[in-house]
Symmetry: C2
Subunit: 208 residues, 2 copies
Amino acid sequence: MTQLDSAPATQQAVRPGRKRDHTRDPEIMTAAMDVLAEVGYERMTVDMVAARAKAGKATLYRRWPSKADLVLDAVSCMGAAKAGVLPDTGSLRGDLVALLSPRTVHDADHKLKVMLGLASVIAHSPELAESIREAFLEPRAAVTRALLQRAKERGEIAPDCDVELLSTVSSSMVISRAMLEHRPVDRAFLLSVIDGVIIPAAGTGPAR
Amino acid sequence: MTQLDSAPATQQAVRPGRKRDHTRDPEIMTAAMDVLAEVGYERMTVDMVAARAKAGKATLYRRWPSKADLVLDAVSCMGAAKAGVLPDTGSLRGDLVALLSPRTVHDADHKLKVMLGLASVIAHSPELAESIREAFLEPRAAVTRALLQRAKERGEIAPDCDVELLSTVSSSMVISRAMLEHRPVDRAFLLSVIDGVIIPAAGTGPAR
């Protein structure tokens, strides 16, 4: 990422003591994600994001010298949000299905559109790929991992179940479906992954 | 795809009766895939492919007016190859492992590099995405589907196993790993998908 501290130096010299205003950041980050999801990285401009966020262009350029900087920051912020409480329905299937609220499915679809908008740059930027992985895939994988681990500990699933690998199945299938099949990633598809892959692959534990 | 028949009309008028030479096509298609895997779609040029295939530039431009035409044809050709005999080791795991010959793993890795080279255009071209799916993913999914179906018929796996969905798991996990994790898709990883996901998810049949 470009060094951000050097560019605005003159600005700060002109107005000594003036702090950079970060209060509009959440709106700007959200606007950046929305523009990315709608038009993709190539056609996206910092001006579009400023217009969407109803923020001054100068404010954006001062803080993010390039489109790449803005996108990298926006992706990272998206990952920093949430975590939340783990569902605890008493069964692994119940827990996994509880994750599929309309809100979550909608959020996941939005993230997916952002990812598709970034497809052209992911291949050339390992740094961006890593940010995307951390922001979009890892939080969800961490939740699935925790649910699988808990189910293993209470003896509901197979003791040799590969928790690490299984926790990545759902996002992999979602990405592949969206990128290469251009088919919708809806609740029905997500349920089929739970019932057709994850639950049977997790096996049944010795305690049953 | 651009209409190919109109462009070479003058050539044919000058040398009546001369047929277009297709004997070098396999080398040209292979060269196109190699260049794509090495430098990616943006940096690839038709000239690079001509040089790699030791073919005349004019030959290539006559047949493929644009880089997009050449790539679409090369991807389709890649899919037309093979199919081959299904392995028949007597067990589903044996069959799936039999698919992981060094040659197959090497071929899959090359295809993956081609796909990564095309990542920037996949998002904007449903036609190319579909060609890639048909050429790279569908043949392998078809083999896995046939092996799962056969195992189901002989009662080795669960009668309600979702064959269709399970046959897409491996390629999805490969794509996601390569694109977003930039980690190697080697034999060890492919084996872990067989043993950690596909085999346990397929379950055990009533005949056992």
